[in-house]
């Protein structure tokens, strides 16, 4: 029967061409949608690598007129002591403005021997690890002991360590960054500081010392569970008194995370709605074509019933025909889709593409089965004498 249906489809290739194209385009759209969904889902399920709850971010600018590095360092140190002295504060970290979930980024190429990678650069102090509770895989976070050493201390994430050093030991090795040598003191787990749906990045943490105090743009304050709005107000007032002529803003990382996630989710939802409309159109088109086929093929259906086909086998034939057509379009679609993992397009993991391909294939088959079942059942219910008479 399958060979018979192939012959029938092949002999009607001109009529079937547009239907095959429609299913092909649907597959490619669904492949794109599922790739995004799978990519975001895989990222979402990855561990975050740090804690953001009860961490507040204070954005500020250094006081105007203070250009001397030592003065800035001394000012920041006294500021840190002030905040730390507050009873609701657990810990304080100074950092450049590209703190977790912020819109700021600082990335550049870093290299080790002949390997060069684009990495996010974070200028942070010694307390940063404890404020965000990074998990150290090996080595140690930089500390006061690293001050004055010939090579600036740096901590990298596991992904970057793997790229630079493979399975070798990264601790004590050097990385080239903007013409300087950085010494790796520690490796932390990968972090998702750009939002829950963002993929793994290369992260390089550089210790803030007297020379790069000017980079500081934010203070991360880890507060105790008792910290409330009243404390936030007190903190704001205290900082305003110390940092004069500067705009100060206190944000909660939890809120920043929501905002950052929305930046990914909103376009995704818009894309899903657009794709949803497209799929509804395709489904209606498919349904219409199959329905039209039945009215056009009533004579053939009647004849098949006359020569021995039961209602069930007529219905099965129509659904199988639709599935064969979708298989043909999927074969063409798969040819294009597999190029993405093979050619490493968009630098996504191959398994993201393969899962998306499987989902898109299953979706198209499901769509075709749903759209062909009802017309198939309608065809099965036609009385043979009626179908033959209407031809």
């Amino acid at each position: 029967m399958l060979t018979h249906l192939f012959k029938l489809i092949w002999n009607k290739k001109k009529q079937n061409f547009l239907l095959i194209m429609e299913m092909l385009v649907s597959f490619l759209v669904m492949f794109a949608v599922f790739t995004l969904i799978v990519y975001y889902y895989q990222n979402y399920t990855r561990p975050r690598g740090f804690e953001f709850e009860k961490v507040w971010a204070v954005n500020y600018q250094s006081p105007q007129g203070m250009s001397d590095k030592d003065s800035i360092a001394a000012f920041n140190q006294s500021l840190k002591q002030l905040i730390k002295s507050m009873p609701q504060v657990e810990n304080v970290s100074f950092a450049a403005s590209n703190i977790p979930f912020s819109m700021s980024t600082h990335n550049t190429n870093v290299s080790h021997e002949k390997i060069s990678e684009m990495a996010h650069i974070y200028a942070v102090d010694d307390e940063h690890k404890d404020v965000l509770n990074f998990n150290l895989r090996s080595g140690r976070w930089f500390s006061r002991a690293d001050q004055g050493s010939r090579e600036t201390a740096a901590v990298i994430n596991a992904d970057l360590a793997q790229k630079f050093f493979g399975n070798g030991q990264p601790i004590g090795k050097t990385i080239d960054f903007e013409g300087k040598k950085l010494k790796v003191t520690g490796v932390i787990d990968d972090i998702k500081d750009k939002g829950d749906y963002q993929g793994p990045d290369n992260n390089l943490f550089i210790r803030i010392d007297t020379s790069n105090q000017a980079w500081i743009g934010a203070i991360l304050v880890k507060v105790k569970p008792t910290a409330d709005a009243a404390f936030e107000s007190r903190l704001f007032k205290s900082l305003s008194n110390v940092i004069r002529n500067s705009s100060i803003e206190i944000e909660h990382l939890a809120d920043k995370r929501v905002t950052k996630n929305n930046l990914t989710l909103v376009p995704m939802i818009i894309l899903l709605v657009v794709a949803g409309f497209l799929i509804i159109n395709v489904a209606l088109g498919l349904f219409g074509v199959l329905w039209y086929n039945i009215s056009k093929r009533k004579g053939e259906i009647g004849l098949r019933r006359a020569v021995g086909a039961s209602g069930g086998s007529v219905s099965k034939q129509l659904v199988t025909e639709a599935l064969i057509l979708s298989t043909l379009s999927l074969i063409i679609g798969l040819f294009f889709a597999v190029q993405f993992p093979l050619m490493n397009v968009f630098d996504l993991a191959a398994d993201t593409y393969y899962i998306a391909i499987a989902c898109a294939v299953a979706f198209i088959y499901l769509l075709v089965i749903i759209c062909s079942l009802y017309p198939g059942r309608q065809a099965a219910s036609i009385y043979p004498a009626v179908a033959l008479h209407e031809e």
């Binding site: 012959k7 002999n11 009607k12 098949r304 019933r305 086909a309 004498a385 033959l388």
Partner: protein
Amino acid sequence: MIRLQNIEKVYRTETVETLALNSISLDVPKGEFLSIMGPSGCGKSTLLNIMGLLDAPSKGGIQIDAQATGNLSDKQLAQFRNQKIGFIFQSYHLINDLKVLDNVELPLLYRSSTAKERKQLATEVLEKVGLSNRVKHFPTQLSGGQKQRVAIARAIVGRPEIILADEPTGNLDSAMGNEIMEILINLNRQEGTTIVMVTHDEQMARKTHRLVRLFDGSQVQ
């Protein structure tokens, strides 16, 4: 071979009730070539459809080969048609998207036969109806007579005991019609196939063993 008992067929719409067949009782013995005649709309084709289990009577019973068909399921009826009955239609009912050979193989697709067996049987019957040189043609490339011969080949490929022909020569000129009639007569004589033929043509009807006339849904002869 075929026994119709008090067959009645009523077509109902919301406002109208039409009696298409009125208390028809008919016995068609095995090996008979029976023709049914009557004016247009008298119920000839309806009777043939009921005999061929393509339509259900409103009242009455049908026995084919001593088997009552009233309680058979859709699947059983389909199997019955496939095994016992071959159909020939005035408008041929060939599938234009299939080649002649594939059209003839059609009834065998609903049996458990291999592709090789199907091809062999279809080739044999096409040879029988003189179309062995048109195997790879599409129906649209054939004349009316050739199309009807393909339809006959399709009807007999499954070696049915009964052939029901609904005006098989109706769309053909007299020469072609005679050719088709010859094939049917030979089938009846040589294979002993029971044939029931609906026709408008008195001359064709006279070539058969028995003639039944219908008028306004009732048997008048």
